[in-house]
Subunit: 180 residues, 2 copies
């Protein structure tokens, strides 16, 4: 990429115990570019400490390979099943641990903020988010669901954590330094 100004590489994370999605984008001036995405899966037969180790090693490898400068992670919802909430919490705690251990600044975004940033409103369906991620990053194919959510979170962070829709509604001017 030959752009004026240094590019900012952002790692987005969609945490989960069974599968944690990751997505890397690069923001150069007002351009967003896709770098990589995928997901880290753990074996349900493994013990929780082993599954957490798999997540840590996976995120560590992603960070070592793609060297992002900033990280963004979705704020997860409490589940109807308290046991699932506990497992999801532990996976998210592990993901944040991997990011702060790598000395990355970690920003947190709600699903609402991510949808507002990517689609323009907070009530977008999952498929709309995926379509907009593809369009914004000029992808020829749809990434997996977890990877798409992680990329959407990275895009929200590139947008300075402000929903485009929210900004338009509020009539605020987008500052170059904060917004893509």
């Amino acid at each position: 990429m030959q752009k004026a100004g240094p590019a900012l590489r952002i790692l987005g994370i969609d945490p989960g115990l069974r599968s944690t999605g990751f997505g890397l984008i690069e923001k150069s001036g007002s351009t967003l570019a896709y770098v990589a995405s995928g997901c880290i899966r753990t074996e349900s037969a493994d013990s929780l400490p082993q599954r957490i180790k798999t997540l840590l090693d996976g995120i560590g490898e992603v960070v070592a390979t793609y060297r992002p400068q900033q990280a963004a992670i979705e704020i997860v919802f409490v589940n109807v099943n308290p046991q699932s909430t506990l497992l999801l919490g532990q996976a998210r705690g592990a993901a944040i641990s991997a990011l702060v251990t790598a000395n990355l600044p970690v920003a947190e975004y709600t699903a609402l903020q991510v949808k507002q940033a990517v689609v323009g409103h907070g009530k977008a369906a999952k498929e709309q988010v995926q379509q907009m991620v593809m369009r914004l990053l000029k992808l020829s194919g749809a990434p997996g669901a977890d990877a798409a959510d992680a990329l959407a979170c990275a895009i929200a962070h590139a947008h300075g954590g402000q929903g485009l829709g929210a900004l338009a509604t509020a009539g605020r001017r987008v500052r170059g330094g904060r917004l893509l």
Copy 2:
């Protein structure tokens, strides 16, 4: 300590976001000895990633200082408040992350298992657990609540994860390799 055979140093952890208790004991032959205990507190005004960093750094420092060979952590309960469950899960995920990052084998015990190992039955009150921790480790004063729970978890692990009461009931023979 001048005992036959190498001593095994165990780190017990009682995870929590506000305060994570730790307790180190040493098992030499059939003797348990107190090494250290305390708790790592996080600032509620800090962001979650910052609080997780505080927990990671704190546990990392405990491991670097006392060099345990094995770790044991309590299995936490789901809370009536789902948001609290989520926060507790994230703290526990961070604690396990710190332990596996330090290459410690991590064993998990329920509160029931810990009580059985320390008091002899699973319905013991918190004060009974504290009293037994003091007696088993020959402490002159009561450790803090979080530290006592962490020490109790380490004792449960030293007992091979088998409740003494449960073993007596089942009439199983205790193998030297697994039990204290």
